[in-house]
Every structure is written in structure tokens, then in C-alpha cells.
């Protein structure tokens, strides 16, 4: 549920409760005040009757107006003074009306009377009803207004928050322009932006450091690798190395070659991430593919693997070195992971580069395919080839897809 909805809901419920309770209270207070007023009128009447009796020594005549009556009734002994309500049928309209009556004792000489002054409560009731009605209408209008204004106001008030949210969603390690820093004029949001902004900066800085570290580490590694390699090159010049020593030297060469390759691959990945290959140019991709095919011809032939190609002239905008690496890795993989007398189909047409090769008879696990250091059981590589391929594609906003349609493993790159 949106905060806005939640807020409106709570707000409305609270408003309704408060307003209903207030209306009830209002009703009773109003009623109390009006009845009190009515009683005052009755009291005034009572005083008049008492003063009439005192002055004239006899009862005044009973009156009977539309909504006010006085009446006298002889009683045996004095009655208590009291107010009461009663209903009675209106003689003219035939409606039942509620009356308030004040009865009090009065005496003329030796006779006791119960005097009663009665006044209709109708007017008062009508008034109360009208007032309550108006109040309810006002409440409903108020609620409606509150709801609408809340929606509008809150939407406007919360707008900076949604902007911040959008910004965080769009945050990307390679895009440094997206730092949160807009001013909203609201302290809370400004603080939120300040905090997210500094967090983004910190993330970028940490990432920068990490990249720098990877870069430096890879570079620093080159020198010891160079030393090791040179020492081995010297060592094999020594006469009289025996068979076991020879084998060990070979193993060292092998390990060194792997380490070197690994290091170079990591360095390449870091460099792509660092945007060090931002220079792009337009060149015919088909030509580069042909060059690569020549390069791999010998390797493929040794395994009896045949290339089948269908190359249209397609220009592409890429960094040349990365395009070279991309094809190296893809074609290299297709050759290396092929089977004896296998096939490789390379097609470049309709905005798609496709390379399909025979190989193991089951699909590769798609989710790990481009993960660093993930490699097939039979692979002798360092497990960075496809990670590099993916990185190069991402770098140039190309999409790459893998599919397996027996017996072909296929990689498809769409060229915009």
C-alpha cells in the first residue's frame, strides 16, 4: 500500500471518528442549551402567574396558544415543582408533538392548585435537526475536501521522495553523473538526498579503489612473472638437465603461462570496466571475421573441424581491439570445445552475428555461462573467456544470447 493511501485512510478514519463524536456531543450540548432556554421561558411564565396570583388573589385564565398553554388543576395538597416531557396529539394538524411542561404548586387562599405551563419542543427539535443536518453536510464536505487536498498536497509534498527513489533506481556504477544532489526545500528530503548522495559517492569511491587495486595488482604481478619466465628461459640453457628436472621445468612453464593468461584476462576485464577502450571506429566486421578465420584455420584443421561461413558486408562501430578479442574468444572457444571432425557455422547477416559449433551433446548451464572463473569440466582455459565476451558486448551495448539446438551450441550477437 502506498504511504499516501495509508495516510489518507488513517486520516479519513480519524476524521470520521472525531467528527461523528463531535456531532453527537454537539447534538447533546445544543439540545441541553435549547431545553434550558425553553425552561427559562417556562420559568418566566411561572413568575408571571405567581405575581398575577399575588396581585389579584386569583388564578389567571388558562391560555392556549398554538405552542404554549397554561392550565390549572385543583389538587388536595401542594405538588412538587417539576419539568417533564410529554407527547400529545396536535389538534389542528393531527401530528404528535412533544411538549415540555413545567408544573408548579400555587395556592389562592385555601385552595391548592397544580399550575402547568407547557411549550412545544417542536421548534427546538427542528432547530437541532437542522443544525445537525448542516453539520453532517459540512462534515461530509470537509472530509471530501480533506481527502482531495491531501491527495494533491501529499503528492506534491512527496514528489521529491519519488524523484530520489527514481534516482536510486537509476544509479549505476559506470555512470558517475547520477549522484543525488537536488535541493527540495524540505529538510527531511534534503537530508535524505544528502545521505543517499554521499552514499553513492562512497560506493563509487570504493568501487574506484577496488578497480584501481585490481589494476595495480595485475600490473605488479607482471614483473614477478617476467622474472620467473626469464629465469626458466635461462635455466633450460644449462647443459645436463635430467629428465625429471626437465619435466618440472615444463610444469613451471605451463603454470606460468596460465598465470600470465589469467593476469592478462583480469587486466583486460578491468580495463574494459575502466572505460579504457572508449575509442570506437566503424569497420567492416565481415573482414575482421575473415582475418580471424585465417588465423584459426590451422588449429581447426588439426582437429578436422570445418568452418562454414555466410558473411554479409556489415559495418560495425566498436573498439577494434575489443572486437578482435571478442572474435578471438568466440572462435577460439568454438574450435577448442569442438569434437573431432566437428563443424563451426559462422553467419553474419540481418544484423546478427552467429557462431555455432558442435561439441558436448548437452547445453551449457546458462546462468553461470558468463560468470568469471566458471568453466566447463573439460575446459583448460582460465574461465574468463566468456566473461570477457560478455563484458565486451555490454560495453558496446550488444546483446549476446546462447542457445543449444542439438548438436549445435550457438552464440548470437545482435548488431544494431
Amino acid at each position: 500500500m502506498k504511504l499516501l493511501t495509508r495516510y489518507s485512510r488513517i486520516n479519513s478514519i480519524a476524521a470520521i471518528i472525531v467528527l461523528v463524536m463531535a456531532s453527537i456531543l454537539y447534538y447533546f450540548i445544543l439540545r441541553y442549551v435549547l431545553i434550558h432556554q425553553l425552561e427559562n421561558t417556562l420559568n418566566v411564565e411561572e413568575a408571571e402567574i405567581i405575581s398575577f396570583v399575588k396581585d389579584h388573589g386569583k388564578l389567571p385564565e388558562a391560555t392556549n396558544y398554538r405552542d404554549q398553554h397554561t392550565a390549572f388543576e385543583e389538587v388536595a395538597e401542594p405538588v412538587p415543582r417539576e419539568y417533564r416531557d410529554f407527547r400529545s396529539r396536535d389538534r389542528e394538524h393531527g401530528e404528535t408533538k412533544v411538549f415540555r411542561e413545567l408544573s408548579f404548586p400555587i395556592s389562592t387562599g385555601s385552595k391548592f392548585f397544580r399550575a402547568s405551563v407547557t411549550k412545544s419542543e417542536d421548534e427546538m427539535r427542528e432547530l437541532v435537526f437542522l443544525i445537525v443536518l448542516i453539520t453532517v453536510i459540512v462534515i461530509i464536505l470537509l472530509l471530501l475536501f480533506l481527502y482531495l487536498s491531501n491527495r494533491l498536497l501529499l503528492r506534491r509534498l512527496w514528489e521529491p521522495f519519488y524523484r530520489t527513489l527514481e534516482n536510486i533506481k537509476a544509479f549505476n556504477l559506470s555512470n558517475k553523473e547520477n549522484i543525488q544532489d537536488h535541493k527540495t526545500g524540505t529538510d527531511e528530503f534534503d537530508e535524505l538526498n544528502l545521505v543517499t548522495g554521499s552514499m553513492q559517492k562512497r560506493i563509487l569511491r570504493d568501487y574506484e579503489n577496488l578497480k584501481q587495486f585490481a589494476d595495480n595488482a595485475s600490473h605488479e604481478m607482471q614483473t614477478p612473472l617476467a622474472i620467473l619466465r626469464s629465469k626458466l628461459d635461462l635455466m633450460i640453457q644449462e647443459p645436463g638437465l635430467n629428465e625429471s628436472q626437465t619435466r618440472q621445468v615444463q610444469a613451471m612453464y605451463q603454470a606460468l603461462a596460465r598465470m600470465t593468461k589469467l593476469n592478462q584476462s583480469l587486466l583486460l576485464l578491468t580495463k574494459i570496466e575502466n572505460n579504457q577502450f572508449s575509442k570506437t571506429e566503424i569497420f567492416p566486421l565481415d573482414q575482421l571475421v575473415r582475418e580471424k578465420l585465417l588465423q584459426f584455420e590451422e588449429l581447426a584443421a588439426a582437429q578436422g573441424v570445418e568452418f562454414e561461413t555466410e558473411l554479409e558486408e556489415i559495418p560495425i562501430r566498436m573498439n577494434h581491439y575489443l572486437a578482435d578479442t571478442l572474435l578471438n574468444n568466440l572462435i577460439g572457444n568454438a574450435v577448442r570445445h569442438n569434437k573431432k571432425d566437428g563443424r563451426i557455422i559462422i553467419s553474419l547477416r540481418e544484423g546478427q552475428f552467429r557462431i555455432a559449433n558442435t561439441g558436448v551433446p548437452e547445453a551449457l548451464p546458462g546462468e553461470y555461462l558468463y560468470q568469471r572463473f566458471h568453466k566447463g569440466e573439460r575446459s583448460e582455459g582460465v574461465g574468463l573467456g566468456l566473461a570477457i565476451v560478455k563484458q565486451i558486448c555490454d560495453h558496446h551495448a550488444l546483446t549476446i544470447q546462447y542457445s543449444f539446438r542439438s548438436p549445435f551450441h550457438e552464440f548470437r550477437i545482435s548488431i544494431p
Binding site: 600490473h219 607482471q222 633450460i236 619435466r247
Partner: protein, 225 residues
């Protein structure tokens, strides 16, 4: 032939010196910027091995001053920063070649030979090894003035051997030389064996001595005796 090795990493420099001295080069070492700068100003070298990251300054600055003073020394950059920019910049500043670390010493020797050959030849681009002559310009090989048809790889291989006479060259070094480091991992050593076998056969058939020796488990040695 005089070589100046500008390299601050002592153990690596030592390997290079040993290897090149065995090759018959006269080598000097400069392990920091100032020393290198002095030596470059005072002496002439046939080839300078230049590391870019030096204590005291960038090797590229040495290269600049070399070219400003119109010195004809050949320059081979050996750098741990295998970056395209460095390479492009170095070559633009007039370096003759660029070799990223880690490299194989036979590769280094071959590159130095190639640079010196280009610098000093003045039209003399023939390598004569007994009955064999290699024309580095026309990329042709003749035995007793008879041309031998070699494939591109076989020619490269022979030249590599010729530049590393009497040295044991590991199969790894050969693979890297022939296929480059991008392909190297795809190459099985059987390829090298095939190429060497074919080269040897062609040379012997043309009347050349059998100079390519296989060093068990290790690699090959070109020993024209």
C-alpha cells in the same frame, strides 16, 4: 654490439644481461632514470631496452630526449603496463618495437636482433648461416643459393631459430612467437612439432645440414656446427 638495458627490477635485468651476454652482446645496465639519461647522452647504443616505469621518471621521457637529440639508437620498450596507449604512444615517439612483460628471453633476443638488423643494415638484410641465407626483406630462404619454399610459419620459425643460435628455446616461447599470446592457449604443442618437422625436412632436402635439434621434453635448439 652494444645494448643498454634500462630496467629497475634487478633480478629481471640480471636475467636479461646473462642471456644477451651469452648471445655476444655487450650490455650495460641502468636501473634508474638519471643513470639512464646520462648513459644515453654520452654513449651510443645499437639498441636500448627501455622500461617505462622507472624510479625517477617515465621511460617515455627518455625516449623523447633521445629523439630530440636525433640519436639513432634502436629502442625496444619492455613494459609491465601492457596497454595499447603506452604502445601507441611509445611507437609514436619513435620506439622501434614494444614487448610487454612477461616475455620469453629468446623473444627479446629475436626482437633486438631484428631492430639492430633494420638499423644497421643499410641494405644488408641477409643472414648467412653456413650454407643457408635468409633474406629478411624478401622473406626468402636459400640453401646454397637455391630457394627453399617455406610457409609463413616455417619462415618465422627459422628466423626465430636464427636469432637464437645455440640456445634452447622452449615450446612455450615458440608457441607465443608463432601464434601470439591470444592464441597461445589454444595451441597444442603438436603444432610446433609438426612445423619443426616440416621445416627440418625441407631444409635437409634442400641440402642443408640438420641443425635443428630437439631437446628432450623442453623444446628445440638451432645449432649450426
Amino acid at each position: 654490439m652494444k645494448i643498454l638495458v634500462i630496467e629497475d627490477e634487478k633480478t629481471l635485468a640480471e636475467s636479461i644481461l646473462i642471456f644477451l651476454k651469452q648471445e655476444g652482446f655487450i650490455c650495460e645496465l641502468a636501473d634508474h632514470f638519471e643513470k639512464a639519461n646520462e648513459k644515453i647522452e654520452v654513449f651510443d647504443y645499437d639498441c636500448i631496452l627501455l622500461d617505462i616505469n622507472l624510479p625517477g621518471g617515465s621511460g617515455l621521457r627518455l625516449l623523447e630526449s633521445l629523439k630530440k637529440n636525433k640519436k639513432g639508437d634502436g629502442v625496444l620498450i619492455i613494459s609491465a603496463r601492457n596497454s595499447l596507449e603506452d604502445k601507441v604512444q611509445g611507437l609514436q615517439l619513435g620506439a622501434d618495437d614494444y614487448l610487454p612483460k612477461p616475455f620469453h628471453l629468446p623473444e627479446l633476443a629475436a626482437r633486438i636482433h631484428a631492430i639492430i638488423r633494420r638499423k644497421n643494415s643499410g641494405g644488408q638484410n641477409l643472414i648467412q648461416i653456413r650454407e643457408m641465407s635468409i633474406d629478411t626483406l624478401g622473406k626468402e630462404v636459400s640453401i646454397n643459393h637455391q630457394r627453399v619454399e617455406l610457409t609463413r610459419k616455417e619462415y618465422q620459425l627459422l628466423l626465430y631459430f636464427a636469432y637464437n643460435k645455440g640456445r634452447v628455446i622452449s615450446k612455450h616461447a615458440i608457441a607465443e612467437h608463432l601464434w601470439g599470446d591470444e592464441m597461445e592457449s589454444s595451441v597444442s604443442f603438436d603444432f610446433i612439432y609438426t612445423h619443426v618437422k616440416n621445416l627440418r625436412k625441407k631444409l635437409i632436402q634442400a641440402g642443408c645440414g640438420d641443425y635443428i635439434q630437439s631437446v628432450y621434453g623442453m623444446g628445440y635448439k638451432f645449432q649450426p656446427t
